[in-house]
């Protein structure tokens, strides 16, 4: 993938200051209802965070709300799916010289208070995954989804040889090397972020799981239709398996 010298050169002056700030990347598709609370929560966080909302072709007021709340907004001209929105966010983070970034859900199920924990855990890892299923974080899901998640866990175990209690968690923190890796490699077919987890482990990054509290999804439509859920998970499994090929260990330690 090309680098984008012009776009990044404009902000070259900001780089020194941006380096130690963290970026919160919020992929959002028609989340105008839940987004305001999420943004307020993040602003109240005890660390200074830059907030980026990636509006993934929303047809509601998502972009306007985010902009009014002072967030930077990336507006994709059409819906590209969670993977597409995330890659746009990773590219932004890389271009603007951020050393750390956090992926955060727009539907209000992530705890803004846990962002600091996740960022702190980056000291001994390249990718930190917030898990909602560890003992400290009581969280329940429907039976179908629970089964599907079990299958995913087993599959991840087979592919990576590692245990992840919540491989599909969308609450994650990234170090710059991982951001650079994902800004090139993140496929738009990555729907559950599980695929990204496998890719990061294979690329040789240090991946760590951290128990965090999560809220039940309040607004937005949880995908409860069984057939759709099944179709969704089958696609996830196919993507993981087809994208899973081990590459030589990446030279990770290149921090600019």
């Amino acid at each position: 993938m090309n680098s984008y010298p012009r776009a990044s050169a404009v902000h070259a002056g900001d780089r020194a200051t941006r380096g130690d700030r963290a970026l919160v990347i919020i992929p959002a598709y028609n989340e105008a209802e839940s987004l305001p609370l999420v943004l307020v929560g993040l602003k109240a966080s005890d660390v200074d965070l830059d907030i980026l909302v990636v509006d993934d072709g929303s047809t509601d007021e998502t972009a306007a709300i985010a902009r009014a709340a002072g967030a930077v907004v990336l507006r994709l001209p059409f819906n590209t799916g969670i993977g597409g929105a995330l890659r746009a966010g990773f590219r932004y983070a890389v271009e603007r010289g951020y050393e750390r970034a956090v992926q955060f859900d727009a539907d209000g199920q992530h705890d803004p208070g846990a962002v600091t924990q996740l960022l702190a855990a980056l000291d001994e890892a390249d990718l930190v995954v917030g898990s909602r299923f560890s003992k400290e974080a009581a969280y329940t899901v429907g039976a179908t989804r629970a089964q599907a998640m079990l299958v995913l866990r087993v599959l991840i175990r087979i592919l990576t040889g590692r245990r992840f209690s919540d491989p599909s968690s969308g609450f994650r923190a990234f170090s710059r090397p991982v951001l650079v890796h994902f800004s090139k490699k993140y496929s738009s077919e990555y729907m559950e972020s599980v695929e990204a987890l496998v890719s990061a482990v294979y690329a040789g990054y240090r991946v760590k799981e951290l128990p965090v509290r999560m809220f039940p999804r309040e607004k937005g439509q949880p995908s409860t239709v069984r057939l759709r859920l099944a179709y969704h998970y089958i696609r996830v499994v196919v993507t993981i398996v087809t994208h899973a090929h081990r590459r030589p260990r990446a030279t990770v330690a290149v921090r600019s």
Binding site: A7, G57, V72, R75, L76, P77, A88, R91
Partner: protein
């Protein structure tokens, strides 16, 4: 039967056993010729990109000798050890069509990937512009809105 005679013939045109009647022979040749002209014309008028037409051209060109020499299929089938010549033809057809379809899926995936990268570029530049404009600048309905409407109507 000569071509001139065929033109006026209203009666049946029996095929020799295991062969092709003259009328059918000419009918097939005309169709193949039309397909060839259609494909070449598409490329010449820039309506068909040459990379997509290539497979089609191969197919049409492969059909020409079969249309001109109907006995060729039988000869080839015998050489391949296939008793029923139409099977040879159908198998090859399916194989070619399969190639064309896979090629198209391949190209579509590539096109989607490029489109997505362009959408990201667009969003990044748009954020850049937003960042530079003074906050009070009136933002008209941008391309994003227009695309959103297109998408809605497409659903």
């Amino acid at each position: 039967m000569s071509l001139a005679a065929w033109r006026f013939a209203a009666g049946p045109d029996p095929a020799p056993p295991g062969g092709v009647s003259d009328r059918a022979h000419i009918f097939i040749a005309v169709i193949v010729l039309a397909a060839l002209i259609f494909t070449v014309h598409g490329v010449r008028s820039y309506r068909l990109r040459s990379r997509y037409s290539l497979l089609w051209l191969v197919i049409v060109v492969a059909l020409v000798p079969l249309a001109v020499f109907p006995g060729l299929l039988d000869t080839v089938s015998v050489k391949l050890g296939i008793d029923y010549p139409p099977t040879t033809f159908l198998s090859l057809s399916v194989a070619f069509l399969f190639l064309v379809v896979v090629h198209l899926s391949w190209e579509l995936s590539r096109a989607e990937d490029r489109l997505r990268t362009m959408a990201e570029d667009f969003a990044l530049f748009r954020a850049e512009v937003d960042h530079r404009l003074p906050p009070e600048t009136e933002r008209g309905p941008g391309l994003g809105e227009a695309a959103g409407q297109n998408e809605r109507s497409a659903r």
